[in-house]
Amino acid sequence: MRFDPAYMWEALPELVRHLPMTLLLAVVSMCFAVLIGLLLALLRFGRVPVLNQFAVGYISFFRGIPTLVQLFLIYFGLPTVIPAASAMDAVTAAILGLSLKQAAYLAEIFRAALASVDRGQYEAGLSTGLTPFQIYRRYILPQASYNALPATGNIFIGLIKETSVVFTLGITELFASAQMYAANNFRYFETYLVVGLVYWAVVVIVGFLLSRLEKRLGLPYQR
């Protein structure tokens, strides 16, 4: 069997049909991860007693175990101890696992970003009669978001690719579709090359959008 580039064009539309599932997993997991990560970061940053320690433990645990182990733990493990968890479908389990994990990484990025906004602005806000909530919402969080954007973008790009492990839960996303497709016609090289290029293209587009966003959010800080 020789390398057949023409075959790649045939495979492309078949694989891209499953790209939406990959994007759904990545985007939804990212949204949850940002929310959970922000909460953890605020607990850490504000040194909220007890909850701070909880956040430290959380981050350590979810950074410490492989994604695959975590997904198996949730999808195959949980139902054996909590019968109700067997009602959870594979997509939910995948989103849960990926969000919980990425949140741990994001929490540390967000904490550093919050710390990068100088405390003087917080004090200035207090001295003009604003509440801490108003100060965070209007000044600290917008600036911290900008500072966190490059690293957060990296996490998102990593997440897009990491969704490829969920084929193990039986979800047909981009990579799973490639495996099935290749198994039918034994064109492994062409199929996996196509799927690799599709991931690459997605990452390039996301990277472009991120840099646009970064430029726009960075406007106030240009001299």
């Binding site: 602005q121 200035a124 009669g129 604003l130 600036q143 240009q222 001299r223």
Partner: protein, 272 residues
């Protein structure tokens, strides 16, 4: 008295920073607080705005008062709303335009609609000499002098009973100091009550009605500006002013008699 502070004590860890400070400032009075670094003058100022919480003592500003021993969240916010602070490093909100920096506090505290708040903001910015082209810019584009003037406008937007200045010119390039000082001078002429922590002795002598000299967490001496800076009574004050090598500092003259001291004190009280 606009501001009446009594018996303020503050420790950082085990290190005493303020050891029983009394300070009274009258309506429209300008008080300059001077002293070596580490003397507690900035901490005192920050206590007035409760950016630092004193360990003990009482603070009254206008009709709001707190006892440091038991400060509630409500009381703290109320006292804070009576003053506004101008910081050494401006502390402008970097993600907001010059105009928003000034008008935000008005809109967020629901004192006026956005349009009205922006009109007030523009007026205040004009008052501190910020021209129209600059109001839509972001703080990153400003010179230090402009930034500090914007921060003064932001402080005025709160309509404070008193404005607190924490070394407002210390972070500025020498050629930009003048524009900030002239704005403060204008405020003094308009009878704005101000407490200014400063190293600019010449300016303190010129603008302040009264100067307070602090050292090691205590008020060493206070009096009318020209008297204290031109003719300090205490050896420590003389030493400090001498070190600055400021031309406004006279050589120590003959020690004053007790009667004169009382007179000076009375004078300062009457002024205050």
């Amino acid at each position: 008295m606009k501001i009446d502070v009594h018996g303020i004590h503050k420790n950082f860890g085990t290190k005493p920073v303020l050891r029983g400070i009394d300070l009274r400032v009258a309506q429209g009075e300008v008080v300059a607080v001077i002293g070596p670094s580490g003397s507690g003058k900035s901490t005192l100022l920050r206590c007035l705005n409760l950016l630092e919480t004193p360990d003990s003592g009482t603070i009254r500003i206008g009709d709001a008062s707190v006892d440091a021993a038991r400060i509630g969240r409500r009381e703290a916010a109320r006292l804070r709303s009576k003053t506004a602070m101008v910081f050494q490093s401006y502390n402008l909100f970097r993600n907001r335009t010059v105009l928003q920096n000034v008008s935000d506090s008005i809109t967020l505290r629901r004192r006026a609609s956005r349009t009205e708040a922006e009109r007030t903001g523009r007026e205040l910015l004009e008052r501190v000499g910020i021209v129209d082209e600059v109001v839509r810019q972001y703080p990153a584009t400003l010179s230090g002098g402009q930034a500090q003037r914007v921060s003064i406008a932001r402080a005025l937007a709160v309509e404070p009973e008193a404005v607190l200045f924490d070394e407002p010119t210390s972070a500025l390039d020498p050629e930009l100091v003048g524009e900030v000082l002239s704005v403060i001078r204008d405020l003094a002429d308009q009878d704005t009550t101000m407490v200014i922590v400063t190293h600019e002795m010449g300016f303190a002598a010129e603008v302040a009605d009264r100067v307070v000299f602090m050292d090691e967490g205590r008020v060493v001496e206070e009096g009318p500006a020209r008297d204290l800076i031109g003719n300090p009574r205490h050896a420590r004050t003389r030493q400090f002013l001498g070190q600055l090598g400021d031309r406004t500092v006279a050589e120590p003259r003959k020690p004053r008699g007790i009667g004169e001291l009382d007179e000076l004190y009375l004078e300062s009280m009457v002024a205050g």
